[in-house]
Structure formats: C-alpha cells, structure tokens
Point group: D2
Chain length 312, copies 4
C-alpha cells in the first residue's frame, strides 16, 4: 500500500494546516495614487475613498489602501498612498472609481490623483476614464497638459487646482483569496487575525478590504430563504455546533477569516504564506489550533490557492 | 437718515464675517451605535461603514462618526461609536443603512449594532429595518429576543453571535449647513479649517462628512455642460480671478469650506458658531481674512443659517 | 461552626476573583493642562512630556495623559489634554515637572501650560513652580499677568508667546493600585488587558502609566543579587512553573498586570472595578481564568484595595 | 570687478535661502530595534522609551523612532521599530538606554530588544550593556543563548520570556543639525514645518526628536541671568521686533525650527535638503518667506551644514 493514498499532514509551530484550498475569482483591477501636501490630508482622501468597499456584493467594488508612499515614490514628489481597487467588470470598476474620486479626492484639500500602473501600460490594457470625466467639473476652465506622454487635467478649485491624470489602465486581478484561523477562544482568534493582517500589510500587490482586514461572517452559497444567494457558514459557527453538521471540534470556539484581493496569483499566495506563518509563529501552542481556507468545491472560481503547496 | 439702511458689519478678532447665510436642506436622518470588544474593533467597523459617504450626489448617503462612546454610554456596556446618517429620502436612507451595516458591521469581529435614537421614539417616527432584514443571513438559526420593549436579533457568525436591533427610528434632519474660510494663502486656509473642524468634533448632533471635515471643491448650480447639474464655484477659485467675475480680492488666495449635517437647526447653528469662532481666534490677524457661507439665493433650501445672527 | 471561617468565593462571568488586595503607596500628585492651536500639536507636547514616565524607580515620575479636553473645558478655550503626574516626594515632582515642561511643552509650537487643579486650591496645598522657573528663558522679556487671582507668564518665543501659569498646587495621591489578569494563553491575556485599559481610559482621576497601560514584568521585593531591590515575580512566570513555587496552575499560561495611579482611593477603586468587570464580561469562559492583585503582605503601602470589596 | 565679493543668492520656489550654516556637535549614538507580537505593542514600547528625549540639556538623551520595520527587516521576524539615540558621552548613552529599556521595553507585553547596528560592528566600536545588565531582573532564572556569534538573554516574565541582546555597539553621531522656516504668519510656519517633517520621516539615519519634530523655542547662548546658559533667541521672536535687534522684517511673523540628529554628516545633510525642498515646493509664494539655520559663529560645534552647498 502506498502512502500516497494517505491524507497529507502539515503543521506549523503546532498549528494544523488543513489540506484544502482557497478558491478565488477573476476580477478587473487598478492601482491609483493619491498625493497631498502631507500624509494627513492624503490619508483623509484615501480613507474616505476606500470606505464601504469591503465586498462587491453590495459595495460594487473592493478597495483599500495598499501602502503609504514617500515623496520619492510618487509622480509629483509629494507624500501619498497607493490604493488598489477590484470589481467584477471593467464597467463597474470605472464607474466606482469615478464616483469615489469625485466625491472623496476632488473634494479633499491639496490632493492630486494619478494612475499607479503606468509601468504596465501597453496596448493590451484598456484605459478607464479619470480626469477625462472629472474635468467637466471645471466648467470649461480646466486645462489639459501633457507630461512624458501622459495627459493630465488641471481643474480649478477653491484651494488652487486639482491635478488629475486623464485615464488609468485596467488590469486583470484576482479576488477572494482567503484563509481561516480556527482558535480555542475569541481572544486568540482576534489576536491571531491581527498579527496576520499586520504582517500582510507590507505585502505589495494585495489588499485585505474588510474592516481591520478581517471577516467574522463567513458565508456559504445558498440559503433556506429563496432571495438570499449566500448565508452564514453554519459549519463554522461555534454556537451552532450542536445544531448543524459542524466542522468545529469541541475545543474550537472562534473562527476568523482574512480575505485577500491581489494583482496576480503570486501576490495573494505570498500574502497567505506571510499571514499564516506570522499567526502560527505567534500563537501556535497558545490556542491557535488550525488554519483552513474557503472554497466552493472548485466549481466557481478558477484560482485555487492550495495551503499545503503555499506553506510547505 | 436711519442707519438701518447701511449694511451690517461684523468682525471677530479682525476677521470679517460677511452678512450672508448658509442655505440648507431637509433630509431624513438617523443615529446608529456600533459597539465592540474594544474601541479598536468598533473603529474598524464605523470607519468602513462611514466611508464613501461625503455627499448624497453620488454616495446616496452622508454618514460619519458623531463621537466616541464609553461603555457607560452604550446599550450593551461595551465601548463604541455613535454614527449619524442623512439621505434625501427615507427609502434611500434605509437602503444604504442596510447595505453598509451588512458589509461593514455584520462582517467586523465582535461588533453589535443598535439604534442611537430610542429616547425620541414615538408614534410619529417611521421605523427602518435593520436586524429585520439582516437576520436572514442567519439562515434560520437567528434568534429573536425582546429586552425592555425593544426587539433584537442574535445571528450566528464565526466568532459567536452578531447582536442587532430589529429596527431604528427615522427622524427629520438638515443637510448642507456650511461656512467658507477665506485666507491669504493655502497654509492659512488649511490650518484654519483644521482648527474649526477640531473644535466642532465635540459638538453633539452634527457631522462634517467630507474628508477631514473639509471641502475644497465648492460648487455652483449649473454648468456650461448640459449633463452637469453643478460645477466648480469659479467665483471662489483663486486661479480664475482674472478670468471670471471673482468674489476674491487680490489678497485672498485660498478658500476652504466646512459642510455640516445635523439633527436639527440648533445643532448646525451651534457648530457653525463654534467652528468659526475657533478659526478666527486662532488665525485672525495671521492670514484668515474673511468668513462667508454658501447659498442659492434662498430659493432651494428652506433652512437659512445667517452668519450675523449666529455669531453675534 | 460559622461560615465566616471559610474562604470567601467570588466570580464574575465565570472568572475567579481571588480574595486578596492591591497594596498601594502615598505619592505626591498634580494635574497639568496643555492646550494648543489644535489637538494635533497638543498631543505632540503631552506625548513627549509623558514619555519615559512609567515608574518612579528609574523615571523619577509616573506621568500620563488623563484625558482629551475640548475647548470648552480648558482655561484658554483651546483644545488640549489633562495630564496627571505622581512622584515619591514633592521635590521630585516639582523637579520633573519643570524639566518636562521646559523640554516638551515650552518647545512645542502653539502650546500653553496651566494647572488643572485650581478648584482644589487652598491654604493647605503647597505650590510648585512652573512659569515661576520657566520664565527666565525669556531673558528679561517675559511679562507677568494676573487673571482672576492667578498669575501667568508670557514668554517670547519664535512662534509668538508661550503662556504659562506661575505655579501649580501639589496634592496627595496614591500610586501602585493594580490588578493581574491570569489567562490560559498569551493572546487571551493581551486582549483582556486591552479591553480593561480601554474601559479605564474614560475614568477620571486615574492613569495607567505603563506602555499601553500594561505591565508584563511583575516584580517581587528583593533578589538573589544584593544590588537589586526587586526582581521578576517568579511565582507568576509561566516558564518557571516547574522550577519555583508557582502560583500558576497548569492551565494558566500568561499573566498581565494593570498598574494604576490616582488622585484618591475612590478613583483607583473605581478604575479597578471598571477594568476587571470589562475584561471578565468580554472573556469569561474564553480563557480569562482569574483576577488577582499584587501586594507585599500589607507591610509597605497603607492603601489596600480589596478585590472582593471593590467588585461585589 | 569680481563677483566673488558679492553675497551669494539662492532661492527655491521663491523662498530665500540664507547663505549661512547649521552648526552641529559630536555625539555618541546607537540604534536599537524593538519588536513585538504586532505593531500595536511595539509602538507602545518605543513611544514610551523615546518620550522625554528631546534635548540632552535636561533629558540626558535625544531619542526617537527612526522608522517602522516589517517582519522581514527584524532579527526575530516580528514587526517592530528602529530607534536612534544620541548623548553627549558614551556613559550617558549607556545609562539612559539601560533605564529606558528597563522601564519601557522589559515592561511592555511581548516585546524583544536588539541592536540595530550589527553590520557596523568592528573592533573600534565600544559596546554598551543591554541584556548584560537587564538580565539580573531574572533573579538567576535568566538563560544565556548564542546565535550567530551574538549573545542574548532570555529573562522570564509573566507573559513568557523577554529576549534581549547582551550588548550594543556605540558609534559616533552628530547632534544639532537644523534649519529655520521663516513665515509671514503662524499657520504658514506650522504647515511648512509639518510638510518638512513629514518628508524627512522617510530619511534613514536621522531623527527629529522634538515634539512633532519641531521647536518653537529657539535659543541663543547665554542670558542676562547668570544661572541660565541659554535663553530665548530674541532676534527671532516676532513679539520682540521693536524691542531688540531683530532679524525679522515686518513681514516675518513666525519662525519654527527643525532640529536633526544623525548617524553621520550625509544623513543630516540629506534630511535638511529633503525637508527644506518639500516646504519650499509646498508653500513658496504662499507665505513661506525664508529659510535660515542656527549656529554659534562656528566656534562650538565642528560640523557645519552650509545651506547653499546642501541645497544647490
């Protein structure tokens, strides 16, 4: 009898890593850069812009700060932030980007708005309107300007001018990478999730768009109510252990999920590895019991992040 | 000859207060309370929930944190935040509240969600669904619970249960209270706006929903482009002083606006007084030159905040 | 046989409260108020001023922010912070207050410095120098000013003038109130401590001067090394359970302490009650196992905070 | 006639750069790394450790956070912060480092403490005690451990063990690099200083140890009071313009100074260039009028940062 028939076993610092995979989806994506006179004002703009952007289900977009940028890393030499945005279609993405830029960046003192993807510009990338649409706010007083082959708009506002790139490329991205932290108690799950999200914060090309990077309302497809396409993942709800066919043992009393969107497979795989390892190193043997991942049997999303491959 | 024909004159610490008024609109409003295991997690939820909520034009809702609450001020004795939300209709308000609660509070570890308006509950206030709608996420495992005449739902999630009040009252509110700070230069305008917003932060019943509480893209009604219902307020754009019929003198080089939504006239009037006085005390004689307000000739909104009445 | 001979038993939400007491010491105390043009600059000053102020042993002073103040709560109508400071003697307290005010408040843009104890001024309170000493920095250009029976100094600096009250009262305070959270694992202890400190943050008259309000290096009196007057509290070190006479059971793997200084007995007793209850409500049944307190057999400090009396 | 006799003239974006120099001093320096379970706890430790560390005059040490570190940049793979510290002598530096580590790092949950200078270790660098002294807190239960030629101590505490490097190298550093921002009004000076400090925050090898990175109490050597070795720099106090021999014109109403300590000449020169350029770009033509620097005629400190050389 060959051992290849036996289920593989993997643990990190005493934490069992389940032999399963996270199932993720094709999305359309882009990166924006918001700069301002200082980080305070840039942060006001990107915090507003990336709010209510946790899940495409009701927000239409998943959007968050990727990382802080120094003046040496931005197009206009001022401090700023890179923001990543993901949507189910290019149309949704463009519509949301325009609305959020108009309401949260155009309005915010001293900001400017740029594409963060210029390096990847090529003929295969479609462009989405940015200044191209927002310029009309200038009521005819806006001025076009070309710099290094890129078009920008200078739109007069009460604190001077809002500088905004004409358009931004749209690239392919992946949404819904994830892992679940299974713990003996709520405080362990909370701390493990925080450590994982803190470690991932430095990872380029990836965002964790839920509040604090974490989801506690994991969902399954379908519901007993016809109108609901998804409902609580009862198999992972500790209060339902005696009621449904639970995946939680009697020692497993709290589960939190980290959901990740990324610009490519490697970004998400790398972030999963970073986050899981940090949580296991911190709390293996102290109540972090297992790590698993969410999927739909592989039928819905074509990107499969196999924990054992990523973490070995 | 009577002096009553002469234009009134008012200044605070050397800053000229124009004899004009802010014109504001009827809105529908509500107050929500979000609690969590600590302020960190409560803040994650309300920050997400109140993002992209600067103006009803594209956000459909204007929503922001009203203030931080200690455990002694919340229904479940845990730390939290009060959030105020405003929309053009009760339908818009209910729809946005449900979506934002579902995406940003239900999802966030350890949170609970309550109405913050119970004291004002009476037969004349319509109720908007909250747990009434969100409970279906529980897929039949949710449990109803009555406490002190109020109905709540306990919805099983991966970290335990999400406790959510059944519904929340809807009250009348006012949106679009405002004042403009006119300064000799951008840094003066930035600092004066910051001081004003910082002072207003303590005011109950009012929010300043734009990024950092401030707008630099003041708008006028109409545009040379047919599709645009509003466009840049060119009379207050310093770069257009030589081009349009400007309201700015040659010394006035930067203008910022604070926009306020409130639960009643007094809240907004009080916040305008607090903010304007703080800015004038701080920077009168140092580059803050004038305070004015935005209106549409009194034709659009029925609430008029007359600066000279409020500030005398 | 009377029940009075039996050890009392008390638990809160399943967490055992030990029948012991925190032993605290007489200290000298004062409250200062730092204001500035906005909370940003006031916070820079008080953060600097209250750093390296965790324990009198090497810092000579225990000092921390008591709470944020709105403009309506400060002597000059500007936003600010109240700071509480404690030392072993009036001389130490005055010396440290002067040094820290000179290095961290006088230096910080736009700040002013006031006593926060005026209401309690009476003939029995000694006064400590503040502006009385700092004024000499003005090199003869400082100006004295009396307002409502209080003396102030206006000291010329590069951003205008530093306004500083002449002197501040010194009152009796209490240092070393404390409680220990005993948990099944580190993440539980961390979260329980955070919840306790977050709850106490609102309590008036009290500070938790250690980093984040928490101590992990609990100490016992004495050491095997002659020069050390205190050393690690080995009875509460989980890694020493098999080596020393431990107070930890095999399930108790992490302990954190909250240390409190207060202006009177009631402030500290109230804060202990608030903190312990919040932690127990949050994590009883989830790994928070017991609450105890640190004392020296009652021989060193004359203030005894009996947990069972405070928490019943 | 040669032009070489004419004073050099330099301006950046309309801001006059004076042809003068900052005079700085030899100091002893070191870099420490503090890590923890997440950035929250690491920040609590380094904030406490670097408080009351603005100037050697009364603090004995100048110490501040250099930058945030990801897990990939620290010795133990956990998130953390690099801290730079400077003192007038090696003895002062060692004494302060030990006290601050003992009171603010040893005490703080989950932290570990390392040298951040290993790469520069060589026979010429003296070593200062760290774990070598702190270990005695372990009361004999501490354990020595060698990794890659470095010695560490594991000291039992209530949350597990405090890991601390045995000793740290001491290097030569420079203290007192500086520049002054001269503005038309206080809000301009405040914003210009903030922009400069925000830009410098990314610079390696340098700290700006005053509150928010800024000093408003510039000083001159000497005083009319014998006991004072320094007093207010009256030539730069706007309120004294009519009273003393002022360096301020009637348009110059507020001055703020940024003081910099660095590990070498290049670090400070680079930070001066970065900060001055950012402030001038932001506020030239808007009230930032001139940039100058503080010196003592070149007689006291041997490091001279000539603005015209650095900024050309």
């Amino acid at each position: 009898m060959s051992e290849s028939n036996q289920p593989a076993s993997l643990s990190i610092n005493g934490v069992e890593i389940e032999d399963t995979f996270a199932e993720a989806f094709d999305m359309k994506a882009t990166r924006l850069i918001v700069t301002a006179i200082d980080h305070h004002w840039a942060r006001q703009a990107v915090s507003a812009m990336s709010g209510f952007g946790t899940s495409v289900i009701d927000c239409k977009i998943e959007i968050d700060i990727e990382r802080e940028l120094s003046g040496e890393e931005t197009p206009d030499g001022r401090p700023g932030y890179a923001v990543l945005a993901f949507a189910m279609s290019g149309g949704d993405l463009e519509k949301q980007i325009i609305k959020r830029s108009g309401q949260c960046v155009l309005t915010c003192p001293t900001t400017a708005l740029f594409s963060g993807l210029e390096a990847e510009r090529d003929s295969t990338n479609k462009r989405m309107a940015l200044g191209k649409t927002l310029r009309f706010f200038g009521d005819g007083h806006q001025i076009s300007k070309w710099i290094d082959g890129q078009r920008y708009w200078r739109i007069p506002v009460m604190d001077g001018e809002f500088l905004c790139q004409h358009d931004v490329p749209r690239i392919d991205g992946i949404g819904g990478g994830n892992f679940l932290l299974v713990a003996s108690s709520l405080p362990v799950a909370l701390n493990a999730a925080k450590v994982a999200v803190d470690a991932i914060a430095e990872s380029p090309g990836v965002i964790a768009p839920f509040p604090g990077g974490v989801v506690r309302s994991g969902s399954k497809v379908g519901s007993k109510y016809k109108a609901m396409i998804a409902s609580t993942n009862d198999a992972y709800c500790p209060t339902l252990r005696g009621v449904v066919d639970s995946k939680l043992s009697s020692r497993q009393n709290a589960v939190l999920e980290v959901v990740l969107d990324g610009v490519d497979f490697e970004s998400i795989a790398g972030a999963i590895a970073t986050g899981v390892k940090a949580a296991c190193q911190a709390f293996g043997g102290q109540g972090l019991l297992a790590v698993t991942a969410g999927n739909y049997g592989g039928k819905l999303g074509r990107h499969h992040f196999k924990l054992h491959e990523i973490l070995r």
